[in-house]
């Protein structure tokens, strides 16, 4: 079975050295006002490039509202 993680309740394939920045790229999430939690733990902006997400993680990438 493929190794996976959950991103906003969508199953996504897991890979080695998966950082938050990589996940944002995979999901094509280009919006900037985000609140990101991995297994309930808040990830700060300066950790997006360094924090490694392990398999089976439950990742929440909450987009806030902006505009009009």
């Amino acid at each position: 079975m493929k190794k996976q993680i959950l991103v906003n309740d969508n199953l996504i394939e897991w890979q080695e050295n998966l950082t938050i920045n990589k996940i944002l790229k995979i999901m094509n999430y280009s919006f900037k006002m985000l609140v990101i939690k991995v297994d309930g733990e808040l990830i700060k902006k300066d950790e997006y490039g360094t924090k490694i997400v392990s398999e089976n993680a439950d990742v929440k990438i909450i987009h806030l509202i902006s505009g009009g």
């Binding site: 906003n8 309740d9 969508n10 094509n28 999430y29 280009s30 919006f31 900037k32 006002m33 609140v35 990101i36 808040l42 929440k60 990438i61 909450i62 987009h63 806030l64 509202i65 902006s66 505009g67 009009g68």
Partner: protein, 659 residues
């Protein structure tokens, strides 16, 4: 990262950090009069001096603007450093003996009474200590350059140009709020608030957030709402060719960078004096290519996101110049850019589907992407002639006119109902809502018609999966419309609420509501009126008006379930082409959500089934929202609800008895 030592303690810092910032991280505090995170450090007061050993020599530097770029050792409290600070403080105290902040710092260094009296001594408690914060705040935070320093040495002083009152000062009060001594203060406070200081605090909070974070967040100062175009395209939400699709390979041509390069005005007082969000943008010297002002160079106010998405992508026109020209003529003729764009997108799809032809459009080939024909329609609308007279009446009337005049089949009439993007007679603004049921409700259940300004829920719903159940969606469709209605009641702009967010917003339970700013608005109301309210009363205030409006609509024959209907294009794919372009997404949903066996089914069969399900879901959503808002099954406020919020006025009750 660089390792440094401060007073014997090791710390790792990023290159470019100042010594003062690094020291703060170690909880080492030294007097720093002119240092604030929100403005650049210029080293004016020199109190923050420290000794630095960079391996070659030990030298004294001001720590607030010394950027660390190699391994160093810092001595914050060496003897000569303390001596220097003491000397500086003694001089300051001799010149400004009664300024509390100076007195306090001096006392910490053992200076109670200076040994001399400065020739320019100023005994005021509110004397100007020449820290320069006001000058820097005016230029860096507010983007004005109203005040500056004049004179040298002892003659140095803060002035407006030519030492006269300068009209261009927008009276934003940022300089007064940042001044540590009270040397600058406001003499003319409009509207006579009950508690001015409390309002200032909230204003400064927003201004500070804009200064520190806007570049990384929404870049409202740089491009305004136009920053959304590329984001919407990335999330498949940018309407193209009458909302058929949510992205387009040419959308990059309408990227905010393209407009940013054209913007010549981004003044802080662009639409409201003193607003530091300053999202209003303008283009100077645009040479018009058509219409009554052809060849003239004009100033164009905008464009904003809705205009770019509507007059660009949604008409299949990926030309920024067209968008700018359409923006100018809509403004000049007094036509709303959204209604023009969405109305014309409907016309173009009708034209491409044989509901209209050249005979009916006065020889105009109104295909998607035809810039010339699109612009001609706009001029006709302005002049009141040709086919423009019909387009100018909006989608709801056009559907009626085409049905009566154009000898259409039942199928064609239904097609028009499906693709005519209006609700309650108002044209949709520019977001694709197909994959977000909550947002379909955001448009369909808005009192004024299809506008997103009551609730913009697409990210919460479709991207975050935060509000999965009907009850969750209904809660969002209660809270946000009420919260956002409140801005209208107060005459406030809502952009500072959520187009910049506090640095610690993510740490809240409900970040989507931006609790730090909600609290600010509660304070704002209380401080303005002198009447203390809380966040629940804020919602209550809106509920009173919102429900009253709904009753008003009901009295006029609207304000019920029938009037909350939406065109199917906003809920799902109307054509095979749309279905097939996102087949993977729709097939997956049919299988996973509705256990539908797609084997051997045609696109039309799948599309029909999907439609049945999605239309049922929309009705269920209405049920849930009516229930949450305290309305009956037909979407009419109940008399009990009106009583609960204190709006059971006799006339209202009279109307509701008819429900």
């Amino acid at each position: 990262m660089i390792n440094i030592i401060i007073d014997g303690k090791k710390i790792e810092v990023e290159k470019g950090t100042t010594i003062l910032e690094a020291a703060k991280k170690l909880n080492i505090i030294i007097p720093a009069l002119c240092d604030r995170e929100v403005v650049k450090a210029y080293g004016a007061c020199r109190l923050c001096v420290v000794d630095v050993n960079d391996g070659n020599e030990i030298k004294m530097v001001t720590s607030c603007n010394y950027l660390i770029n190699k391994e160093i050792e810092v001595f914050m409290q060496s003897e000569r450093v303390r001596k220097t600070r003491k000397m500086l403080l003694e001089m300051m105290l001799s010149r400004w003996p009664n300024v509390p902040m100076i007195k306090q710092f001096a006392a910490e260094y053992g200076v109670i009474k200076p040994r001399m009296i400065h020739p320019l001594v100023d005994y005021s408690e509110n004397a100007c200590i020449l820290c320069g914060l006001c000058v820097n705040a005016c230029s860096e935070m507010v983007w004005e350059d109203i005040i500056g320093f004049a004179g040298r040495g002892e003659n140095r002083r803060v002035v407006m140009p030519f030492e006269k009152h300068y009209e261009a000062c927008i009276g934003c009060s940022t300089c007064a709020n940042i001044c540590p001594t009270g040397a600058i203060y406001m003499t003319d406070i409009p509207n006579k608030p009950a508690d001015e200081k409390r309002i200032d605090k909230f204003g400064m909070k927003i201004t500070e957030e804009m200064t520190l974070m806007d570049d990384e967040q929404c870049d409202m100062r740089g491009v305004g709402t136009a920053h959304l175009t590329q984001i919407m395209n990335d999330y498949d939400l940018l309407p193209t060719t009458n909302y058929r699709f949510g992205s387009h390979k040419e959308a990059g041509k309408l990227h905010s960078d393209v407009f940013k390069a054209k913007f010549t005005q981004g003044l802080p007082d662009g639409c409201w004096l003193g607003c530091t969000m300053s999202c209003a943008k303008s283009i100077d010297n645009y040479e018009l290519k058509s219409g009554p002002y052809k060849g003239q160079k004009v100033l164009v106010d905008g464009p904003e996101y809705e205009t770019v998405a509507g007059c660009g992508a949604n008409l299949g026109i990926f030309n920024p110049e067209f968008v700018i020209e359409a923006n100018f003529y809509c403004d000049t003729y007094g036509i709303d850019t959204i209604s023009f764009a969405t109305g014309l997108a409907f016309v173009m799809e009708c034209f491409e589907n044989g509901i209209l032809d050249k005979e009916k459009t006065g020889d105009l080939e109104l295909n998607f992407g035809n810039e010339e024909a699109a612009m001609e329609i706009l001029h006709q609308m302005g002049r009141g002639d040709g086919f423009g007279i019909i387009v100018g009446q909006g989608i709801r009337r056009m559907k009626k006119i085409f049905t009566e005049k154009n000898d259409l089949t039942d199928e064609q009439i239904q097609f028009m109902q499906d693709i005519g993007m209006e609700a309650k007679g108002l044209e949709y603004s520019e977001y694709v809502t197909k994959e977000s049921l909550a947002m379909q409700g955001g448009y369909g259940l808005a009192l004024k018609g299809a506008q997103h300004d009551e609730a913009w829920l697409i990210f919460m719903d479709m991207v975050n999966n935060q509000i999965p159940t009907f009850a969750d969606k209904a809660e969002a469709l209660h809270y946000f419309p009420m919260f956002r209605t409140w801005f209208g009641l107060m005459g406030l702009c809502k952009l500072p609420w959520n187009d910049v967010e506090p640095a610690d917003n993510a740490e809240n339970d409900e970040p989507a509501k931006i609790p730090g700013h909600v609290e600010g608005y509660v304070n704002f109301f209380s401080a303005m009126t002198g009447k203390e309210i809380d966040k629940h009363e804020l919602i209550r205030q809106s509920e009173r008006v919102y429900n009253f409006q709904r009753v008003f609509n009901f009295r006029l024959g609207y304000g019920n379930r029938e009037s909350d209907r939406i065109p199917y294009r906003s809920a799902g794919p109307v054509t095979n082409e749309e279905y097939e372009s996102r087949a993977e997404r729709y097939d997956k949903q049919l299988i996973e959500k509705w256990n539908y066996d797609i084997e051997g089914k045609t696109s039309k069969e799948k599309r029909d089934f999907l439609r049945k399900m999605r239309e049922e879901d929309y009705q269920k959503l209405c049920d849930a929202v009516y229930n949450r808002r305290g309305w009956d099954d037909n979407g009419v406020p109940t008399i009990e609800k009106m009583r609960e919020i204190g709006m059971d006025l006799p006339e209202v009750v009279e109307v509701l008895k008819r429900a």
